[in-house]
């Protein structure tokens, strides 16, 4: 509701904001700080029309629909494009006019993996880039804060449990090694010997990044598990699903998903994670949380903002005219996350322009981001609980950290969730 009690249309507000910025800044091709000009947008959905078309469930029809949408951007010359619709969270598929079912899921995942494999190959050949490699403040700082908190939590658990056992930790999405190295440093700094009670499984499908991490580890005195037979690291050049499938039940003390869940449209790995975790094990998720891809109209708004073009926004939106349902009301922290996510991307796009590539490919932005609340709901569906005092109960010096922890308390965008298995 607006301050004067009137409902307003979210999309119109978005358009209004963009137009004002366009006017103010002339030919705006990138979006800068407009959420600071409009700190709290009036988000009360009153979208005209409802979804009248039947949800697509036939996998061939879904694939065809996806191809139709993506084809409209082919040869457009646009450096940044939506990409495969299946990459958004499956929780939001219905907002786009299709649905994942037990019958079609395997087929959809197979289709998704084609795109993910291509993305990985393009990144490996430096035809594109993972935006996480670009420094965008304050989000880089926020990510560093999460690294510090996760390292502290991990150390405390290792300290607590090391008397009896070797502590097994899996880091899914270990990327360039920032998190595993931070954990190793924390353990070494606070107690040099505890590292010999720790096993770190680094799960990363991008081989080059994994190799870079492995090359750095000996500097910190950490050996491979195959060498010590007891402690150290194991480099798992696999996807998380591939890795988890090979692990025993009730075996891991901690599984960390590090800025990785937004690459997982389906949350099935939660079942596998639950299986491999010990009863008192923790599932820690650090990620960018946002509703930005929840609805096609949000994506259209994003396109309008980054290109300053109604035409480009409409090119995307028109595919969903009779498919998109009424837009829900976003909470304040979701609204801020929405704006911060756009801001993040605006800065990434500016930087993309200045990077060189061996053979530049367009960048496809759609990913499986969800809000914090949605992720907690998903976790509950897989019999995980998220207790408010969990972080504080593990580490004394983190006693002021609630769970979930929003680094910017106003916003979902960079957040940490610590989940435990429900009894």
């Amino acid at each position: 509701m607006s301050k004067d009690g009137k409902k307003s249309n979210f999309c119109d507000n978005m358009k209004g904001a963009s137009k004002k910025i366009d006017k103010k800044m002339g030919e705006v091709k990138t979006y800068t700080h407009s959420y600071l000009l409009y700190p709290l947008l009036l988000l009360s959905p009153d979208k005209q029309g409802e979804a009248t078309k039947k949800l697509l469930t036939n996998p061939s029809e879904i694939k065809a629909f996806n191809e139709e949408v993506t084809k409209s951007f082919k040869n457009s010359g646009l450096p940044v494009r939506p990409g495969c619709l299946l990459k958004i969270s499956s929780e939001y598929y219905e907002n786009y006019g299709f649905k994942a079912t037990k019958e079609n899921k395997d087929e959809l995942i197979k289709e998704l993996n084609k795109f993910f494999n291509k993305d990985r190959a393009d990144e490996a050949n430096e035809k594109t880039i993972n935006p996480r490699g670009i420094i965008v403040q304050p989000y880089t700082h926020y990510a560093n804060i999460l690294v510090e908190i996760i390292s502290e939590l991990t150390y405390e658990i290792v300290k607590r449990k090391a008397k009896n056992d070797v502590i097994k930790i899996s880091i899914i999405g270990s990327r360039d090694g920032t998190l595993p190295l931070a954990i190793i440093n924390k353990i070494n700094e606070k107690s040099g010997t505890l590292i010999e009670k720790t096993q770190l499984y680094l799960v990363e499908p991008y081989q080059k990044k994994l190799e870079e991490t492995i090359n750095k580890l000996p500097v910190y005195g950490i050996k491979s598990i195959s060498e010590t037979k007891k402690w150290g690291f194991s480099a798992e050049y696999k996807t998380d699903d591939e890795f988890l499938a090979t692990q025993k039940n009730d075996d891991f003390d901690i599984v960390i998903s590090y800025f990785h869940m937004h690459c997982k449209p389906f949350s099935d790995n939660h079942e596998a994670i639950r299986r491999v975790l010990k009863n008192d094990g923790l599932f820690i998720i650090a990620d960018y949380f946002s509703p930005l891809w929840e609805y096609p109209s949000f994506v259209a708004d994003f396109l309008r903002t980054i290109y300053g073009s109604e035409e480009i926004a409409a090119k995307f939106a028109k595919n969903f005219e009779d498919r998109e349902p009424r837009v829900r009301e976003l909470s304040e922290s979701e609204q801020y996350a929405y704006q911060q996510h756009k801001d993040y991307w605006a800065n990434v796009i500016k930087e993309l322009h200045n990077l060189t590539f061996k053979d530049r490919k367009p960048f496809y932005f759609l990913r499986a981001h969800t809000t914090v609340q949605k992720r907690i709901e998903i976790l509950k569906n897989y019999q995980f609980i998220v207790e408010e005092e969990k972080i504080a109960s593990i580490a004394k010096n983190l006693k002021n950290i609630p769970n979930p922890y929003r680094v910017d308390p106003k916003s979902d965008f960079v957040s940490l969730i610590v989940a435990s298995k429900e009894d």
Partner: protein, 391 residues
Amino acid sequence: MPSQKTIEEIIKKIDEIDQKIDEITKGVALKIGSIARIASQALINWNIKFDAHPQIIRALEDKSIEEYEKEWSMVNKVVYHAIHKAINDSNLSEGNHQLNNEISKMAKEIILRKIKKGKRVVMADIGAGTGDTSGTIIHRLIMDGVKREMLKNLEIYFVEPSDESIIQLGKLMRESYPEVKHQRIIATDYFHMPFLKKESFDIIVSNAVFHHHSFPTYLHLLHNALKKDGFLIIGDWYTEIWYEPKNVAYIMKEGLSMHEEKVNQFINLFENLSWSKIVEYWNNKSEEEKRRNEGMLLYIKNLARRLEEEKCCIEKEKEGEKNIYGLETKVELNLLEAHEKYEDRLEKMKKAGFETTAEKIKRRYKWLEKTPTEKEVVAPKFAMVTMACKK
């Protein structure tokens, strides 16, 4: 008093050597650069002899700053990204991250003591980058119970030469820590900063910056700017690799894969130098020094590779007429910097009036009993954080 002629002759000698080196490294992306950039105590090894007269020192320092500013003008976005990639390739990003962490732990203890009592704390962050060091310090304060209201007592002066970084820094401060008063100054030469007034700072921090400064004048300035009970915390990378032309010759061959002819041309610039002597010199170092050198060599190899890659990409894009970088985008960078041995830096700090001995610092400031005043990261004496107070 040295004559103007004497000063000019010294500068001329530096220019001559620089010119000859520049000729040898023509056409490559990663050049050797100016010997005026190296740590002043090593200039003698490069055949630059001078009396330590203030006027001569000032002239050499100005020369060094001039070369530093020339270098900064070369660091366009493409070069910056090559550096960033090479840092990631070489383990140094984790090192910088750790340096930030250790600086923030020490700084937090110092600031906390005053800020919890409601006292105003004035800090300078020299070479602030995009704000990671100060951001981490502030975050630690909040984690230690400092309420947002109390952060109004913290005032930070940021000095940073990159306008891009300072924009990011401003965003970080505005959005994450709006309670903290701050000023951002874009400068390569902070020697003449009006804000560095006598005894006005409680704490000055700096991460990976002072290896750009050949002379220790900045230490004297910072000493002057600190309050009587003020602290200086320096995080930096330490290596003696630029001290000797022998090391640079080795790097030219093993790090930059330069043609033997070019390496020999470089060797011939200096008397009594031969490749066999160079290899012997390189291999006959302590284990610690070898580790530092290997760390630098890895970085240099990666940096050279990344710069050449960027150069190729730009040339390809120009050919394809995409040309989004503009015709003027050069991909060039200089190697020589003022890295020095850790012990040499400590000596300079002592001469500037700083106390760096842990025992003496803790005797004076008993509340620092449990706080380390010196921390090593990555490898022995390669990346260090040092706390110092005024003697």
